[in-house]
Point group: C2
Chain length 343, copies 2
């Protein structure tokens, strides 16, 4: 048995979100100590696609144990060797939720999120739940990643992400989302207590007067750095007795309140947000595979170890067991692999 | 005499604004066909700093004939060889407007613009003229360059560019500038005539009702791609008889009107804007060296050939002659070098 090591995101030097991401701490992805060459991986993948039936286990074994920069090399090498896109090959060889998960995982993270955002904006399903990916990439990702997603969006589609949001989301959600996606937050740990105090007051006033989409609220939530905002939320709690997200939900039950709660949770505790996404997708009748896939694929290299912990805190049960219990087949195998479990 | 070749920006492959810039066409900078190594250049610069007096001609001959990526290599090599920053050395060896110009030229373009923006925002002089650099980097630069400036701003100073604008510019200019600097415009040539028609009408209505800082105006000017906006302005002119910037200036004489005129000019014809910056800095009593330096340093690698043409159209005189007539000494020599003239 080959030995696995945990992939700690801070060790990588590339500019993938896995490396530049500073909020989270550790992913669940396990990569081999010694990684085969991208040529070897590409050849094995090609073989797995050929012959009678597809060798799903081999695909999971390879792609499910490579980090973002390794997957990028495999994509490029596969294209060179076979003059065929790896994504296209996966698309024609796999099916169902397994296909969706493997393809999302194989994309470059910025392209993945641009495609997810595009899907969300073009979807016939409307509502705040649909917009989750846009909040996540704005409030639970690094500013570098957000900019890379905006660049990818312009490359892939025929307008900017902002134009797509403006065209398909109505006010006041549009205003909040436009503020969020255009941000490039200061990314060092620097907190001004006076600002935290003043802005906690301003947020409280906006909640009290039910002006949740006021310019000031949008400015604060979309411009201040994450450390500053966490301090502002803490200030709010100390001064006004309740967590700010609770007060927002008490002030109304509309889409704007739900969106702002999501924004605050993503900023304050991304791991809690993603634990809720996993929990909500599993609990109750049926499974929301799209949300479950998105949460695991996007966080496996970032902070899945923390998401697991938060999941236990919230649901008093094990995230991995819940995923195993609610999924099946190759899809289950693949998710469990990304969660760092054995196949 | 060594032969010079024109530096055509589209040939370079780096991500400097010179290369990724798609609006302009051609710079005035002349680089040698065969460039000495960065080690040679660094040694010559070091020698130029040593001994009795500084050899300004040598500094101009070297730095004034290197493009952004070559200057970057020289900066890095100089630091390695002498354990000293080239910028610091220039700062202690040179003086006056010559020093300012050489240092701005030597910085990485994104750092240069971040520092210029910081200087503008921190300046005691207030008014629209001060904010020119922020409009230029948002409306007369590529989206990649604007993002690079925002990244540089966060690295150099203790807040984001947006926070700095919000802290030192008051409404309604603040609202317009925040919209502009947070944009990441679609960067391919794609125009929707229906959108152009609709938005020309919307802009006309805003001018008529004197609601120039309306959300829609800010959204249109800060989100639409440059090609789309030029078509919208052309639509406006055809439908309403006047160029939109003229109608804006007829609607009022305040700062907001001046700012919006600047925005429109930078989008519609950056070369015309910069010709005006040069002209305004020279014409009348005294010279505004800061503006003159900024215009020449920032556009020498982008579209100075076009700026020269526009200057002639507007002022019926030669830009180079005007610069020569209004400057002196090493400062003059350096600007003339960037303009592609002989020393």
């Amino acid at each position: 048995m080959k030995s696995f090591k945990k992939l700690f995101t801070s060790k990588s030097k590339t500019h993938s979100p896995a490396s530049s991401f500073k909020i989270g701490g550790m992913g669940s992805l396990k990569v081999l100590d010694v990684i085969p060459s991208p040529e070897d991986d590409s050849e094995k993948l090609k073989k797995a696609f050929q012959g009678l039936g597809t060798d799903e286990d081999e695909i999971i074994m390879i792609l499910g144990h490579r980090d973002a920069s390794q997957r990028k090399q495999i994509r490029e090498t596969y294209q060179q060797l076979y003059n065929e896109s790896l994504i296209d090959a996966l698309n024609s060889e796999l099916s169902g939720d397994f296909r969706t998960a493997v393809i999302l995982w194989t994309y470059d993270p910025s392209e993945r999120d641009a495609r997810l955002a595009n899907g969300a904006l073009k979807s016939k399903k409307k509502g705040v739940k649909q917009l989750e990916i846009i909040v996540e990439m704005s409030c639970a990702s690094s500013p570098q990643h957000l900019v890379a997603v905006r660049q990818a969006y312009c490359s892939l589609f025929d307008c900017s992400l902002e134009e797509a949001i403006a065209a398909s989301v109505s006010m006041p959600l549009k205003k909040v989302l436009l503020g969020l996606v255009t941000s490039y937050r200061y990314d060092k740990e620097l907190v001004d207590m006076d600002v935290a105090n003043l802005e906690a007051d301003r947020l409280h006033e906006a909640i009290k007067t039910k002006e949740l989409a006021h310019d000031d609220v949008v400015y604060i939530l979309s411009t201040r750095n994450f450390h500053q905002l966490r301090t502002t939320f803490e200030c709010y709690r100390k001064k006004y007795g309740n967590p700010i997200d609770k007060d927002i939900m008490k002030s109304g039950k509309g889409d704007l309140e739900s969106l702002l709660r999501m924004v605050i949770l993503c900023i304050d505790s991304p791991e809690k947000h993603f634990a809720e996404v996993v929990g909500t997708s599993i609990i109750g009748l049926g499974t929301d595979e799209d949300s479950l896939t998105r949460a695991i694929v996007t966080r496996a290299e970032i902070d899945m170890m923390k998401v697991r912990g938060e999941y236990f805190n919230i649901y008093k049960s094990n995230l991995d067991d819940a995923v195993i219990g609610d999924t099946s087949g190759d899809y289950r195998k693949f998710l469990v692999t990304l969660l760092g479990g054995k196949m």
